[in-house]
């Protein structure tokens, strides 16, 4: 069963296309990483999944329900860790959790045991009665995870769970997430802008850029794509000849050449446009058009994910 099924999702803020035709499928039991630079539309996508904002267009189903019209059903089954999470600072950690438990109508007696259990799980049991105002960022983040677990969700959404956390703290949080998936059989969506940090825990990742999903798959699949080529070019010529194709293939850095009608598609590891136009001239056909593809995965990757 698909936990998230989104088709053609769009969210426009007067003029800004925060999410622009996103298709997303998350399978039951997997950890899915939603990766993208700042402003890519990760948070907006998550808000749509939770019914916290309405999409401009497109269809979404979360656990089989429509988040806009059946928000309560989605929220009953889904745990959400927002990106800038805040607590009631003048209440203790335990009191904060007790409030959330009561909003979920968990009976008082049951809640008491559960709160203790999740606090122990995230390692906050000793400070449970301290005011949250005195907590460090990392402690608040762990308290947020405890809160998410309180309602035994089937689906968990974590928006940048490691942002602002030191590497050791981030590692602990990610370990906790993998452990939870094993023990509780939950489906987990993690958003992040740090590929190297979360790639370890994700079964599949989707790369989102300017509101579009530009690549999706397991890390193996994605890196296979990356190996192949980093630059894409499209070429229109008056006639596709074998000589032309042979010359194009011979260019240093070209990975593959495909012809279809009068169009030739070239994948290369470098910007080979000068060599390509020379090859066209040398083989005696006319060059009608040469354009570079809008993006390549490598560009997205390099620019944003390997800082």
């Amino acid at each position: 069963m698909l936990v998230v099924e989104a088709k053609g999702l769009k969210k426009y803020y007067d003029g800004v296309k925060a999410v622009d035709g996103l298709d997303l499928e998350i399978r039951e039991g997997e950890i899915y990483g939603l990766l993208g630079p700042n402003g890519a539309g990760k948070t907006t996508t998550i808000l749509i999944l939770l019914g916290l904002t309405e999409p401009t267009a497109g269809e979404v189903k979360v656990l089989g329900y429509n988040p806009t019209r059946e928000a309560l059903k989605v929220k009953r089954l889904t745990g959400y860790l927002p990106e800038n999470l805040g607590f009631y600072d003048d209440l203790s950690a335990r009191e904060n959790l007790r409030y959330i438990a009561s909003l979920n109508r968990i009976p008082e007696r049951e809640a008491r045991g559960k709160i203790q259990e999740v606090l122990e799980l995230v390692g906050l049991a000793d400070v449970a009665d301290r005011k949250v105002g005195t907590f460090s960022r990392g402690m608040k983040q762990r308290l947020g995870i405890a809160e998410v677990l309180l309602k035994d969700p089937r689906f968990v959404i974590l928006d940048e769970p490691t942002s602002g956390i030191d590497p050791e703290g981030a590692r602990q949080i990610l370990d906790m997430i993998t452990r939870l998936r094993e023990e509780r059989k939950m489906t987990i969506l993690i958003s992040s802008h740090l590929l190297h940090q979360i790639q370890r825990v994700c079964d599949r990742v989707g790369i989102i850029h300017r509101g579009k999903l530009v690549a999706q798959g397991s890390l193996g699949e994605l890196s296979a794509v990356m190996e192949k080529g980093t630059h894409l070019f499209e070429l229109k010529v008056s006639e596709v000849t074998d000589e032309l194709l042979a010359k194009l293939r011979a260019i240093d850095g070209v990975v593959s050449v495909d012809a279809e009608g009068d169009t030739v598609r070239i994948e290369a590891r470098d910007d080979v446009r000068p060599q390509v136009s020379r090859a066209v001239l040398e083989s005696g056909v006319d060059l009608l058009e040469l354009k570079g593809h809008a993006y390549t995965l490598e560009e997205v990757y390099l620019r944003y994910f390997q800082e």
Partner: protein, 308 residues
């Protein structure tokens, strides 16, 4: 909704601003009631409804308890509401709360009910303390009619404060900054407590100017126009309603009505009659509150919940 209610109620009752206001009203109300009781215990001429005087009679430069509530009550109601929603946005708690399975209107309603309960507890206990003070100073207990009028006064006061609370909550939804919503609330408060009275006078002067030697019916018209304008003010509605409840002789609202009935000797009306007189005012207050709620719902139901 009960979860929201209990949390918010505990927040209010423990908050500094609530405690400060509680003691402020208690001190002012207690002092003016004390002075009123002192002047009353000497006379003993009209034992009828003497307890009500504790609330309507100002003394020694202090406003009466009634006057104090009608002027400062709005501030108290607004202060419990002006940061109800926007502070949750600013603290980043709104995303956590609204990702739980609760309806957004429950959240607003829970906050409103908690606020109005806190106000009710405050007003009722202060009125009880004042009545107790009266018992001590006057030396005889209030009659049944007095008790029911005082209870009615408490109810109307809570409805009045409830309107201001709902206005504060509305502003806390409209404005993202708590400072802005506080300022907007104070502006509305000043408008209704000060400017509208001036404005009503101005409008009446325009339509039915009073010159020396003018016919009495022009005078009546002037006053009824003034009253009509003031009918839109929750402050005026409250003053009319509580005057009718606390001054049993009172039979019509506004000077115009009083003039018409000036020839009839005034005897106290039964509570039911007084209630009939104030019914429109009560309905008006509740209607104003409902308008605030309706606007709040419309704005908040579809708003994006993003903590930034």
């Amino acid at each position: 909704m009960s979860a929201v209610f209990w949390k918010e109620l505990a927040d209010h009752l423990g908050s500094k601003r609530f405690i400060i206001f509680f003691f402020l009203i208690l001190i002012v109300g207690g002092a003016s009631a004390y002075l009123a009781a002192q002047s009353l215990s000497g006379t003993k001429t009209s034992p009828d409804y003497i307890y009500l005087n504790l609330f309507t009679q100002g003394a020694g430069g202090l406003p009466s308890f009634l006057g104090f509530i009608s002027f400062f009550g709005p501030l108290i109601g607004v202060i419990l509401g002006f940061d109800a929603i926007n502070s949750e946005f600013n603290r980043g708690t709104v995303s956590r709360v609204l990702s739980q399975p609760i309806y957004r209107d429950w959240w607003i309603n829970g906050k409103f009910l908690a606020g109005i309960t806190a106000l009710g507890i405050a007003v009722a206990s202060i009125v009880l303390i004042i009545t107790g003070l009266g018992l001590y100073m006057l030396g005889f207990p209030p009659g049944g009619a007095e008790i029911s009028r005082i209870a009615m006064f408490v109810v109307i006061s809570v409805v009045y404060l409830g309107f201001w609370l709902s206005l504060g909550i509305l502003f806390s939804i409209i404005f993202r900054q708590t400072a802005t919503s506080a300022l907007a609330s104070i502006a509305v408060w000043l408008f209704f407590t000060l400017f509208l009275y001036m404005l009503a006078g101005l409008i009446a002067d325009q339509i039915a100017p009073i010159k020396p030697g003018v016919a009495p019916d022009v005078f009546v018209k002037h006053e009824s126009i003034r009253d009509l304008v003031l009918r839109f003010s929750p402050v005026a509605l409250y003053e009319e309603a509580t005057t009718a409840i606390l001054i049993p002789q009172y039979r019509g609202l506004g000077l115009a009505a009083l003039l018409k009935e000036a020839s009839i000797p005034t005897s106290p009306l039964p509570l039911g009659q007084s209630l009939l007189i104030v019914w429109p005012q009560l309905v008006g207050l509740v209607a104003l509150t409902s308008i605030c709620f309706a606007i709040s719902y419309v704005i908040f139901m579809r708003r994006e919940i993003r903590s930034t």
